[in-house]
Subunit: 197 residues, 2 copies
């Protein structure tokens, strides 16, 4: 029903997460009707980012420079390394402002079915860094999913081999959460890890 | 917190309808992490569409050729013209397969406050077409909003000057709708326009 170019555009929009046929069509028409300049700007930003954004040599997060801002900063505590699954996790943690150490980004999680093993997550690189010394504690901040837990367990064993202290983010009731709507897994964790007050 | 290029990309995504700060970030990271090829394809499709998609000389819908597929088709009934606000409306009507005439796309609706008058909607072009003769009926399919109704009223008067029959899409209860959840405006229309059975 659409013209070939509009069909192409609608199909291309569907690579975005959470965008189905209907929203893709809405996006295409909105830009064509009301904001072609914004569309061109988006095209340019996309192309530049897809081609130019690389990875930090040290922590593997996205970076346009050899070292990312955090790894390059002398203010960050290099004795603490927080292991996360993706660069988006760093953004959330930085926003909380609770951590002043450095990061190591796995860019995924162990998932043998999908062919993602320790090498794909650059775990040898993390191990080399621990071997060098200087790291006192490794904080495991992978997601509390089956794969995330398996990944955390694997990284923990590497750290123990090099006598580095390892911790895992606490699990429990989220702030502002209501018991009534909590899943039983979280509630179980909260009971098991309850603290005397 | 992000790198400058990622910041640019996130800002650029916000031109899309329904995309706020959080979804824009999610889209940027999803493409960077998992589908750079898809991202480049989207950049290319966007650029081509923004630059190459023009308007049909006859009905004003989006088209890469001088006449759109519908205006160029000898199978369509040229005695009927359906007036719609945007090209997306054509897509919906064509999907229903209920109409075999041609269209005229206003590319907007009358809105004096925003400086959108009859000239911006190319109404003189529509009038010239009616003057030429050959059009038997004009079907007004603008949206049932205040501006849409005002636009329909204005177009109706043009058509009457040229003795062309004018109709407006029926209003009432949508198929599969439940009375319980219907707004009172629609319900009022449904009562007023009730039909003896």
């Amino acid at each position: 029903m659409h013209t070939p170019l509009i069909d192409d555009l609608i199909a291309a929009f569907r690579v975005l997460p959470g965008v189905g046929a209907k929203s893709a069509q809405r996006m295409a028409y909105a830009l064509l009707e009301r904001d072609r300049k914004g569309g061109l700007r988006l095209a340019q930003a996309l192309q530049t980012a897809m081609e130019k954004v690389g990875h930090c040599q040290q922590c593997r997060t996205f970076s346009e420079t050899e070292l990312c801002r955090i790894c390059a900063s002398p203010k960050r505590n290099s004795q603490l390394i927080c292991v996360v699954e993706s660069p988006a996790d760093i953004a959330v943690i930085e926003q909380a402002g609770v951590f002043d150490g450095r990061y190591f980004v796995l860019m995924g999680r162990l998932s043998p079915i999908d062919g993602i093993g320790p090498d794909e997550l650059a775990l040898p690189q993390l191990e080399a860094c621990l071997k060098e010394g200087g790291v006192v504690e490794l904080i495991l901040a992978t997601n509390p999913t089956v794969e995330g837990e398996a990944t955390a367990h694997y990284v923990m064993q590497i750290a123990k081999q090099h006598s580095v202290r390892v911790s895992r983010l606490a699990q429990g009731i989220p702030l502002g959460g209501e018991l009534e709507y909590l899943d039983s897994g979280t509630l179980t964790q909260a009971f098991i890890a309850r603290k005397e007050v």
